[in-house]
């Protein structure tokens, strides 16, 4: 076994012990390379978005430099989230990307619209996959607006090919980052809360919030129809892996988008069903609860023990530890705003506090409390890792 393989086994044991609410030798530390790293290079964001290899190489460079001086365990991923050419060839209306519709150092923007109309609920609910392919994709894609036409056929071929190419590049990046550095992945696979699938990309914020008042039964039926798809999507995108949690960014479920009553009726039942469906297949959920989820802690505690990894952003850490401690692993707790606006000393103090409050008996992974934004400072990211090893040895 090589040194990197030994390191991988050590870190894997550390992470898995924490995920199972145990006390490893050290608090596992999770680190990701995001758009914040690009400003320390000569590259533009457009170059990083369009040239996946460049994005991968910057990620490798950051890992090489960081790991030569510091030690962490879990890797959350590299810079590139999406490959714009896949969207460009479809004439996609969903996003604006740097270099084509935004200036070259701007991050992407999502263009939220009611791409699914209120009248579409019944057809979508009856056959979600069929409706997405035949109705939704033509609406969001100028080049695919007339399925069967020459332009549309060509666009679909190009975009599907781009999807495969982007996935392949991402897989190669991961293989290199994990293999060469002995790191373990934070998660595998991707899924969402059914209410978010409906509210983010289909009905939009305004649409879904009107729907829960004007057509509540349609919303509930659509969420119910999405449940098996979000379980299947999570397992397919994880390629069947059940060792690591399935990443699930949660959006409209943060307080106070919905009242407790609305959350209980519209958000929670279908999300709970997806998490339980994944757990029934041995797949834990990375409950990426950005924002404040404090009012829902008791409800979330209904989930099976160890079925989630709960991220602390603005959720009350003390209450979360009191209710979830020993049942769900906790992750995060260091505000992303602190990584942007704070100083290394403040980051270290915060990390120490989180280790003391959340990790004193295990079941905790030190990490930022959300997606680290492009304006975060490198010295703060490094301070987080330093604090983890300074204060996080049991």
């Amino acid at each position: 076994m090589s040194d990197k393989q030994k390191l991988f086994q050590e870190r894997l044991a550390r992470y898995l012990t924490a995920l199972d609410c145990g006390k490893p030798d050290k608090v596992p530390i999770s680190f990701s390379v995001g758009e914040w790293a690009v400003k320390y290079t000569n590259s533009t964001l457009q170059e990083v978005y369009y040239d996946i290899e460049k994005g991968n190489s910057i990620t490798s460079q950051v890992l090489d430099e960081t790991l030569s001086a510091l030690d962490f365990d879990v890797f959350g991923g590299g810079i590139s989230l999406w490959w714009p050419p896949m969207f460009d060839v479809m004439g996609s209306k969903l996003y604006k990307f740097p270099g084509i519709s935004l200036e070259e150092n701007s991050t992407f923007q999502y263009v939220e619209e009611e791409y699914m109309k209120a009248d579409d609920y019944d057809e979508f609910t009856a056959n979600p996959t069929g409706w997405l392919l035949t109705k939704y994709l033509p609406r969001i894609s100028e080049e695919f607006s007339e399925p069967g036409s020459y332009r549309s056929c060509v666009a679909l071929i190009k975009s599907a090919a781009a999807f495969a190419m982007a996935n392949n590049s991402a897989a190669k990046g991961w293989e290199s980052w994990l293999g060469q550095h002995g790191l373990v992945p934070a998660g595998t696979g991707f899924s969402k809360a059914p209410f978010d699938t409906l509210g983010d990309a289909l009905r939009g914020m305004k649409g879904i919030l009107l729907d829960i008042r004007r057509r509540p039964e349609k919303v509930l039926a659509a969420c119910e129809a999405i449940i098996p798809h979000n379980i299947a999507y999570g397992m397919i995108t994880a390629q069947g892996d059940t060792t690591f949690p399935c990443f699930m960014p949660l959006h409209r479920g943060a307080y106070p988008f919905l009242s407790l009553e609305q959350w209980m009726k519209f958000y929670w039942p279908s999300l709970k069903a997806v998490i339980e469906g994944l757990w029934a297949q041995g797949k834990r959920t990375f409950f990426f609860a950005e924002g404040d989820w404090t009012p829902y802690i008791e409800r979330i505690a209904e989930l099976p023990d160890k079925s989630i990894l709960f991220i602390i952003d603005k959720t009350d850490p003390v209450k979360a530890k009191k209710v979830f401690g020993g049942r769900f692993c906790l992750y995060g707790g260091v505000p992303t705003t602190l990584l942007t606006y704070g100083k290394p000393k403040e980051v270290k103090e915060c990390a120490k506090r989180m280790i003391d409050e959340l990790g004193y008996d295990g079941g905790y992974v030190l990490a930022p409390g959300g997606v680290v934004m492009g304006d975060a400072k490198r010295e703060n990211m490094l301070a987080l890792i330093e604090a983890g090893r300074e204060y996080g040895v049991y």
């Binding site: 969903l94 056959n127 996959t129 069929g130 975009s159 599907a160 798809h229």
Partner: protein, 57 residues
Amino acid sequence: MLTTSGNEFIPEAGTCVSWKIKKDELGELPGNEEMVKKYWDMLDAFAYSFIWFWVQR
């Protein structure tokens, strides 16, 4: 509803055109069915993840 070869069906979660449906159309295969099924399923899952990718942002 989608139509294929005159048969209407609603694809199950995780599939676009499941092997079961295709197998009914193909009937008995003269060679190794498992091999054909394996790659059918792999590419069907790819198509499924492509379709759902657009709403799983």
